[in-house]
Symmetry: C2
Subunit: 538 residues, 2 copies
């Protein structure tokens, strides 16, 4: 029995459990592969301060096999890192840093390569060029037992069609579908949450690339990295930090290793713990560390800084929504940053509302009401939905659309717990509201608590649910005012059309009673019409 | 940027994402810790053919800290393996073998130790003795960065209070709660699904150990290990197997590495692939391997053998249910083994039904109906529930109770999709049926497809859902017959009580009409009563 005991490599583990990573079935596998590659491309561009240009291409090879390619204009990857980044699970720069990014696990893109290799027998192919370096073309096979990439092709080229950037290509077993939760859907939502990105997309059914132009021409500000907040650190982590610190005094340790700890707070913590300010951190044993840990919980420490967060921003959310849904009304709300388990986060909410295919009522400068058919594109219909359907919730975490596990997501829970009847939408108990509306929810955080490695849904931390609810209420109130006003406009329009209809008859009546001429009758009717237009203005 | 790229150890990954492993909150952490340790103990005993004696102890140390100890009479662990088994994530013997066992990931028990160390600063403590070896007492600290255990104490003792066995102890941040999804609940359900195990359990609130005696005195037959089935192997895996095989001929390779492939099937596959029977497996390139893969899918191959499965068995399910619920009726159903993705599995279902606290109707040998209060214990009430509540579903995978993620579980889906109205229970659309009943579902498989590493719910593979539904229908039909009969008995009892009530009045009437004596009247009434008892038998 003892003999058969052995190490399990993380590649083997996830190859067998690949549904944990979002490779449950062929259609989801296609989406997950593209999502992981696009996440990486966008992260790379933004970190380097480059306006992203992303190309996504899907090509059908056989009935059940597709070739996926994702290309970016990012900074490129130095040669030595390519095999690790694309061929090793649990490798990367984002896991250990407390900075907002799309990727955070160091698994995604290698898992996509692994899935391709498992189902189609070929590992990933990479082309990458840094600004001053040459272009490197790699082909690799992943060694599952060692969680390592074996390079099967390694070429250097002087020229490439890009000055810099990276292209990732993999053959996978997949199914291409359209509609909800499809790659088409994902690309569209990515355009909404990343209005600074330009995306060119070609699915197997398309004759040419679909082009998503950027709505803003500014890279989002680069989010800062922060130190851990004392409240978010557990005893075991604290002990590890004490062992590994370069600080020689306990007071210095607290100030250097944590955010929001100055000399005063450090003094308070140490006093509460009954320790000495000049204690050697590396000599602190478990019992003393435990006292320190308890003291931290008892000391009042201000919330972590929030310059580590890069929200989408109200204007960009509006632009994104406008670009993708042709609604009657838009409302946005941003919450101040908050904290869960020591991690700063911020919630943004946007609502788009309108009657799809219905009439649009507008009031012109003269106060006249105009009724016009709303222009619509095929794209819009997808997003806005019918007036009898439950509204659509677009969920985003660090600008990445979440397409699966809607019912298992903390965001959905918050939408259901909000009383939408107050804001003019109908809603059953414990259900999503009904109406042709889209609710967009975005969480920006240095660490997003996903319910699985597939990063499909947000874990329902109470602090997060509360913030989402407050943001929804704020945006909802604005929507409520608009819907009530809209109902007033509609009923006013109705009344005016009745009056207009009967004005000529009133004229004829007056003519008969007062025995006036036709011209006088016309004059009176015109006067009445003008009176109505000026008095029944809205 | 390139500099900050580095490896992420699997310990670091799961420490940060510990909610993926079932350590979401303090009360669930307590349960998960105990569950992982008990799983290991039961697996170890059964593999060695030992009737398990398990001791589970929870002791409160501080308000939010508990000490958990799990001890077994298993074969013990050899000294060299202790640090790896308890101090290294992704290590073990079960992941690579195709054999039914509770553990399958090589993560659980080390994750519990890791959680303890993170929250309370101390690593796990192990005592283990093999039959002929000495007892070894270990204390360890886990090095997260290296995913390795550092031994801090390593003692050898000649004697121990057990001839052989293992004790695992860890201090963790936790909350002890009672009721549904508690440790109490888990222990009780474990006793139901493991009637061959004896469990002694002591929670902080108990004055002495609670004793779950075994109901059967036979260790379940040891499940065999099987080779992979050709249908369950993907192209990438096939290529890896071809590279690593010792077989020198393709035909031999197919027959030796897979189950259910004999010379005839091997020939068929190779012919379909257009390859030679004597091809060198290690020289087969991707294109040929692909042809082989496609050929396998097209060839008819019989289902994998099922001696690798160790179901609980109808009798033991009945005994388990009887021991834990004092119901009126029990029904069990076992499906023949089936296959999903090349993995054999088998479904068993048990139903216990009764009106809790209500009257029990029994018919004695003479055909008399007796009405008696059912005896009940506090234990029973937990399991059976009220007649107005939705029924309780006890879910088990390889004899391990699943307590969380009820609504996200494939089993629950199957229960909801079964029409319980046909079987005498009321049920709303897409909901669990209502009644004081317990439904037990067990899946035995060489690989259980869990929806997360926390092993809380079964992924909804269509093949599994179908088998569960068929088993439920079979057990349900028996229940339906009983309930209809029960309703008949109850209405009969009602009628009889009416007749009995009026028999004396009938006697008085007859006395007046026929002018008979009091004795004659009594005689007639007695004769009528006897007639009723013999004719209105059920």
């Amino acid at each position: 029995m003892a003999k058969s005991q052995r190490e399990i490599s993380v590649s083997e583990f996830f190859a067998k459990n690949r549904h944990l990573l979002g490779f449950d079935n062929p259609s989801k596998a296609l989406l997950t592969t593209i999502k992981e590659a696009v996440d990486n491309s966008l992260d790379a561009c933004e970190e380097a301060g480059i306006l992203p240009e992303i190309v996504v291409e899907i090509q059908q090879l056989e009935e059940d096999r597709y070739r996926v390619a994702v290309e970016d204009n990012g900074p490129g990857i130095v040669r030595a890192q390519i095999p690790n980044i694309f061929g090793k699970l649990l490798y990367g720069s984002k896991f250990h840093s407390r900075r907002q990014s799309r990727g955070q696990q160091g698994i995604g893109i290698s898992a996509a390569g692994l899935y391709g290799q498992m189902t189609c027998g070929k590992g990933p192919r990479i082309w990458s060029k840094t600004k001053r370096g040459k272009m490197h073309a790699f082909e690799m096979q992943m060694d599952l037992t060692k969680n390592k990439a074996l390079i099967t092709k390694d070429e250097e080229h002087k020229d490439w069609h890009r000055k810099q950037g990276t292209r990732f290509e993999i053959d996978i077993e997949a199914t291409y579908k359209r509609g909800l939760r499809s790659v088409d859907d994902y690309i569209k939502q990515t355009a909404v949450s990343n209005p600074h990105a330009q995306i060119r997309y070609k699915a197997p059914t398309m004759e040419e690339h679909r082009f998503y132009e950027r709505a803003v021409k500014q890279v989002p500000e680069r989010a800062d990295e922060i130190k851990p907040h004392p409240y978010g650190v557990e005893l075991g982590e604290l002990m590890k930090m004490l062992r590994n610190t370069n600080s020689r005094w306990l007071s210095g340790f607290l100030q250097e290793e944590f955010c929001r700890v100055g000399p005063k707070v450090a003094k308070e913590i140490i006093k509460e713990a009954g320790l000495g300010e000049r204690s050697y951190p590396t000599r602190i044993a478990r019992e003393e560390a435990n006292k320190l840990y308890r003291a931290i919980q008892k000391t009042k420490i201000s919330s972590p800084p929030t310059n580590c967060l890069s929200p989408i921003g109200e204007e960009r959310i509006l632009e994104g929504l406008r670009k993708e849904c042709d609604a009657d009304f838009y409302s946005v709300s941003t919450r101040p940053p908050s904290v869960y388990r020591g991690n700063p986060f911020q919630i943004e909410v946007g609502i788009a509302w309108g009657k799809p295919g219905g009439d649009q009522l507008d009031v012109d400068e003269k106060g006249r009401i105009k009724k016009s058919k709303r222009k619509r594109t095929t794209d819009t219909e997808d997003l806005l939905g019918n007036a009898d359907d439950t509204i659509r919730v677009l969920r985003f975490a660090n600008r990445v659309p979440l397409l699966f596990q809607l019912s298992g997501c903390g965001f959905t829970k918050s939408v259901m717990q909000t009383s939408w009847k107050n804001y003019g939408l109908s809603q059953s108990k414990n259900a999503l509201p009904v109406g042709s509306a889209v609710i967009l929810i975005h969480m920006a955080s240095v660490w997003v608590p996903f319910t699985s490695e597939a990063k499909e849904a947000i874990a329902p931390y109470p602090e997060i649910l509360k913030e989402v609810k407050l943001a929804l209420q704020e945006a909802g109130r604005k929507l409520g005012v608009h819907i009530r006003k809209g109902k007033k406009v509609a009923s006013e329009f109705q009344k005016r059309s009745y009056i207009e209809k009967y004005l000529p008859h009133v004229g004829i009546g007056l003519q008969e009673i007062l025995d006036i001429s036709i011209e006088e009758r016309e004059e009176v009717v015109e006067a009445l019409r003008e009176t109505m237009e000026t008095t029944r203005k809205i």
